[in-house]
Amino acid sequence: MDVISPLTHIAHIKPLVDAGATEFYAGIRLNGTYLGVRPFKESIFPSQGMLEEAVKEAARYNVSIGLCLNGYYAGKKEKLLKFVYRMIKSGMHIFIIRDIDILCLLTQHFPDNTYVISTLTPCFNSYTVKYFESLGVSRIVLPREFSLNEIKALQENNQKSSFEVLIHNITCENINGLCRFHAMNPEEVIKPRYIAKLFAMLTKQSRSACKVRYTLRSFFKGHEIERKKDCMLTDYLHMRCGACAIPFLMHNNIHGVKIIGRTFSLDKKIKDVSFIVRVIKEAKGKPFISYQTIQKIYFDLYGKKCLAPHECHFPTIQTGVM
């Protein structure tokens, strides 16, 4: 099973490969447009030249880097094609795509690469999987809100495609590809951006619209039944981990597990990769690992207790109801 880790700098390749990462994903900016979905400087490679170098460096360790093209690209298509061609020349062959338009464009021009459908394109059923297969996709990142039984069923019904599952640092409860809150706060439209930033810092609030505080009024059959202050739009904001499901996923031939967190420090990334790799090693040949074993590995690496079931992405795995 592949351990797919985020990558933002060439210098991170060796330590992450040593920790056990077998594939990377990275973002970049092209003519001022973020090609990936995370529009932050910290979450992308500093320059295209460095990304090319990184692809060559990773190849020395027998590891590939996938390019995130899962943002919205409104620029000229020729420029994107030129850029992708340059990346392919440097040795890159995995492209993570959200937009069906870009997928068709790239498969038309460069059919021999591995195209991965991002979790931002919801792929919920076998018909959708087969449809993407027909467009030239060979790998699919499953929606994060899928249950284990749904993952199993989809894998069993579609043996041609391989699947990736997001496993660590999972945050949001909404269907990712269809969420309009992506790192955006409407307050920034009203206030200049720096004032919004300062305001968020002073009030210790997030700048994302789904995480700021609202006044809530709850209605039942048209009658107001509750009023509360300081409420968020979403509840599940702590980072969740699905490591307990790794034996189940291995047993069901899932291609890889993906770790979220491009903006994290190298130290955190190494810990995350080491944690998942140790769970995979522990799970080899076993259909199930006890919750205590995973808690022990977690404590060894992070120096704190695993807060399951509150931070558990697949809380039902321990009870057997999936």
């Binding site: 943002g71 919205y72 409104a74 959200r98 937009d99 069906i100 338009d101 997928l103 068709c104 464009l105 394109t121 919801p122 792929c123 919920f124 059923n125 076998s126 018909y127 959708t128 999987v129 087969k130 449809y131 993407f132 809100e145 749904e150 069923a153 989809l154 019904n157 409860e173 909404n174 269907i175 590809g177 269809l178 969420c179 309009r180 809150f181 992506h182 790192a183 955006m184 706060n185 409407p186 307050e187 439209v189 009203i190 619209a209 789904c210 700021v212 505080r213 609202y214 006044t215 809530l216 009024r217 709850s218 209605f219 039942f220 059959k221 048209g222 409420c231 739009l233 509840d235 599940y236």
Partner: protein, 272 residues
């Protein structure tokens, strides 16, 4: 100006509303597979439409997992056996492929959630705030853009889709001309546009009885409830209803002639 068709989205399936002035009835759910109509609901809907002459029927589907396809097939089988030409709104290419392959008498429509996948999500919120601040038609005219996802349109054409549902007036203003030129008819939902939705139902087990008796499966508790979120510094109200977060599109649609030829009225939140 095209004549606009008025459609009513019925979600409670009691069919006790009068639909005078409406040319079409929508049933189904765009965001939750569990709220898909039952066979009996469709039968009732067909009878209801028969009672009013010239009323057409549209079934709306959501993103669906494999196990719900059987249920969808049951519903569409009825439409086929009763020889009724219905429209099916698809919010997923998989569903679109399933319907076009097995039920070629049905007319396919690209749903707003599928269409919005070809647009950048952040634009939606920015546009909403602008529209709340500057209620001017000129603003949108100046922002009219060429719709660029031509491969996406080609994919829709390959399924013989001729109509696209648009979520908001701002999208209609921005891309209306371009899409209309490409040969698509446009419909718009009023008065709410969706911002996000989830599969973790916020209203599940709110009903104390079902919680105590640990009733499994969906009890449709979300139907009777909604939550309103407000914040002083944002001129918007967020509505959480069922598994969706929506915002109001405060526009008088008569002021706009952006190639929209169907308006779908959806007023359930105010009744819940």
């Amino acid at each position: 100006m095209k004549t606009r068709e008025k459609a009513l989205f019925i979600t409670d399936y009691t069919f006790d509303k009068r639909v005078d002035g409406y040319k079409r009835v929508y049933i189904g759910h765009e965001f939750c597979e569990r709220l898909m109509p039952q066979v009996c609901d469709l039968n009732r809907a067909i009878d209801y439409c028969k009672n009013y002459s010239n009323i057409a029927l549209t079934i709306v589907t959501s993103l669906m997992t494999d196990k719900y396809f059987k249920k969808l097939a049951n519903i569409l089988d009825i439409a086929v056996t009763k020889n009724i030409n219905i429209e099916v709104v698809c919010n997923d290419f998989g569903v679109m492929q399933f319907v076009s392959k097995n039920y070629n008498t049905c007319t396919l429509v690209c749903g707003r959630s599928l269409f919005s996948q070809s647009l950048w999500p952040q634009q939606e919120l920015v546009k909403t705030v602008y529209s709340a601040l500057f209620r001017k038609k000129m603003f949108w005219r100046a922002n009219q853009k060429e719709y660029q996802a031509l491969h996406f349109l080609e994919r829709l054409r390959s399924f013989d889709v001729k109509r696209i549902d648009i979520s908001s007036i701002s999208d209609a203003c921005t891309y209306g001309y371009s899409l209309s030129k490409a040969g698509f008819n446009l419909s718009i939902y009023s008065p709410y546009r969706f911002l996000t939705y989830t599969r973790y139902c916020n209203f599940a087990s709110n009903d104390k009885i079902s919680f105590r008796q640990s009733v499994l499966g969906c009890k449709r508790e979300c139907k009777d409830r909604h939550i309103v979120f407000t914040r002083k510094s944002i001129p918007l109200k967020y509505f959480m209803h069922e598994n969706v977060i929506l915002i109001e599109d405060n526009f008088n649609l008569n002021d706009y002639n952006y190639y929209i030829d169907r308006i779908i009225y959806y007023d359930e939140i105010m009744n819940s």
